[in-house]
């Protein structure tokens, strides 16, 4: 186990970590402006709005215009962070992101919260399960999926330092803080959290925590797991993915996203072309979610440590 993994894992939502990170960065980078679409209390951009009211702009419930303004601000030299829920950011405003941000390669950071099923009670209309597929398919777009509060802090900084459009996927639910400040996120790099020789579990977002739990359980069954945190979905760390496929000969992916188009697909593309090994994808199985408590939805839709354990057992049989 990597020594930066905490034993006492306090629960913090990545959206909260985003809100804090923005305030911290706002002090260092006067070019940062923050835009929201009437959800600042939920996306936590309200923290920035309080700290720097002159650099916060509410665009009202108008996500297309949120992206258009962000594009214009970036074209005129500002460093805009645009936030709303992931469904509306990537769905409602997809074509604004495509044509006004990604195509002209403008320096806009789209930090979308309430991604995935763990939106919970609001139900399927508000649960983005396809946002990563949409953003990953756009040329020039960088796609980042932090696993916890510490990684979120570092991802936000990396996004601000990177020149060009970035999509950051954040969650509503409080999730375990896995990493100490010793952890280092690097854009384009995956992190190996623990090493084993039987199977590699590649996860991102809140499924990293589940992957670590699954690995602990499998270890008691004498199955050695490598666990990879793949927060940088694009650019993807192909080298690490191929390397862990070589050492273990079997791969399981785990993500809080449709198994179509997200991490599972990205890993499958790399393995199929460069080093085919048996693969199982844990994720949402091409279905919309529903209302319910986040923890119950994760169980119902097959996104738990136990689901990863089951997938590992299946994939081991194919070796």
């Amino acid at each position: 186990m990597a020594d930066y993994i905490l034993t006492d894992q306090k629960k913090v939502a990545t959206r909260d970590a985003y809100g804090k990170a923005l305030v911290e960065l706002g002090k260092e980078k006067p070019a940062i402006v923050v835009l929201d679409a009437d959800l600042s209390q939920s996306t936590k951009t309200v923290n920035f709005a309080k700290a720097y009211p002159e650099r916060f702009f509410n665009m009202g419930i108008a996500e297309q215009n949120l992206m258009g303004f962000a594009a214009g601000l970036a074209a005129a030299g500002k460093l805009p962070f645009a936030s709303t829920f992931a469904v509306f950011a990537t769905g409602r405003a997809f074509e604004q992101i495509r044509n006004s941000i990604a195509y002209p390669k403008l320096n806009v950071k789209i930090a979308a919260t309430h991604a995935g099923l763990t939106v919970g009670e609001d139900g399927a209309s508000h649960q983005a399960i396809e946002d990563l597929a949409l953003m990953r398919a756009l040329p020039n777009m960088t796609v980042l999926v932090p696993a916890d509060a510490e990684e979120t802090r570092q991802v936000v900084r990396a996004a601000a330092a990177h020149s060009g459009p970035v999509y950051i996927r954040l969650g509503r639910l409080a999730v375990p803080t896995l990493f100490s400040t010793e952890y280092t996120f690097t854009l384009g790099k995956a992190n190996i959290l623990r090493e084993g020789t039987d199977v590699a579990i590649i996860a991102n977002g809140l499924m990293v925590s589940e992957a670590l739990k699954a690995a602990a359980e499998l270890s008691s069954q004498q199955v050695g797991c490598t666990v990879v945190n793949c927060a940088s979905l694009k650019p993807l760390d192909e080298e690490t993915i191929i390397s862990v496929a070589k050492t273990t000969g079997a791969v399981v992916t785990a993500e809080e996203h449709n198994i179509i188009g997200g991490l599972g697909s990205a890993v499958a593309e790399v393995l199929a072309e460069k080093y085919p090994v048996p693969l199982r994808r844990v994720g949402i199985k091409d279905t919309f979610g529903e209302s319910g408590r986040p923890e119950e939805l994760l169980i119902k839709y097959g996104l738990t440590a136990q689901d990863i354990v089951n997938a590992v057992q299946e994939v081991l049989k194919l070796k």
């Binding site: 215009n65 214009g72 074209a75 006004s100």
Partner: protein, 271 residues
């Protein structure tokens, strides 16, 4: 100066016709209707430097009706952003003059556009940046009339008024025609002035082919404080080429060599 601008508008029209022939596709109607507006902007109003297209304090121009790229490219070439010969390679594989404006490829293009409604939204964002940075530059955006059916236009209009972006000037190329026919047959946009007034904009109505009226309107817009301005410019689609005027068929098809020759003859006679 009025005569010089009128001559430039005529030259821009000739360039439009010439560049569309080898391209074999493109949008003459809505390019010709906007030639006077662009001539006034680029040869009198805009504070720009063709030698330094990225000058941070420059005025910005966003062609929100991005399909009128030929009129923008012709104007930029006449202004000296790139050689006029390049116009003849419009839309060709590997050439920088894309079918719709690309800010990464074309010097002088301030925003990539083509998907309608998005240019005015980005232009408003630029105007907001100017306010934040306390800069004196102004942002101009040219809209098409069919474009007003895009919801984003009105999202942007609402926000521009909310943030009091009096450094933003929209110009409506109101030629009355769009791909499928007349505005009122496709989607009613009238009453246009009342809509913009209701959204909190300063509205000025002019003849979009009258250079003097256009100049006065831009002057009035620059002096208006607290609200963004829209100049509703009544225009004729295909203006300057008799057989293209008010013909919806010339929205998106290029003239052949013979038609171009006839068009150029008319334009040269008018010069």
């Amino acid at each position: 100066m009025l005569t010089a601008i009128r001559q430039m508008a005529n030259q821009i029209r000739q360039d439009i016709i010439e560049m569309l022939v080898p391209a074999k596709s493109g949008h003459p109607g809505g390019s010709l209707s906007a030639a006077d507006i662009l001539a006034v902007l680029y040869f009198s109003v805009l504070k720009i430097d063709p030698q330094n297209p990225q000058w941070p304090d420059r005025d910005r121009f966003v062609l929100s009706k991005g399909h009128a790229a030929p009129v923008l490219y012709a104007t930029l070439a006449e202004k000296g952003y790139f050689p006029r010969e390049e116009l003849l390679k419009l839309r060709q594989t590997g050439h920088f003059l894309q079918g719709h404006p690309d800010m990464q490829k074309v010097p002088g293009v301030d925003m990539s556009t083509g998907s309608l409604g998005q240019g005015i939204s980005a232009a408003a964002g630029m105007a907001l940046a100017g306010k934040i940075d306390k800069k004196s530059y102004r942002v101009y955006a040219l809209l098409g009339d069919g474009e007003l059916a895009e919801g984003l236009v009105w999202e942007a209009a609402m926000a521009a008024a909310h943030y009091r972006l009096d450094n933003l000037v929209a110009i409506l190329d109101y030629n009355g025609l769009q791909i499928d026919g007349k505005n009122e047959e496709v989607m009613t946009i009238a009453p246009v002035a009342a809509k913009w007034q209701a959204f909190g904009w300063n509205v000025i109505e002019v003849d979009g082919h009258n250079v003097e009226q256009l100049l006065q309107a831009f002057e009035a817009a620059a002096n208006h404080q607290g609200r963004p301005t829209i100049i509703i410019a009544k225009t004729v689609k295909g203006k300057g080429v008799s057989f293209m005027e008010n013909q919806v068929g010339w929205h998106g098809s290029a003239p052949n060599a013979e038609q171009a020759e006839a068009a150029l003859k008319e334009l040269r006679e008018e010069q």
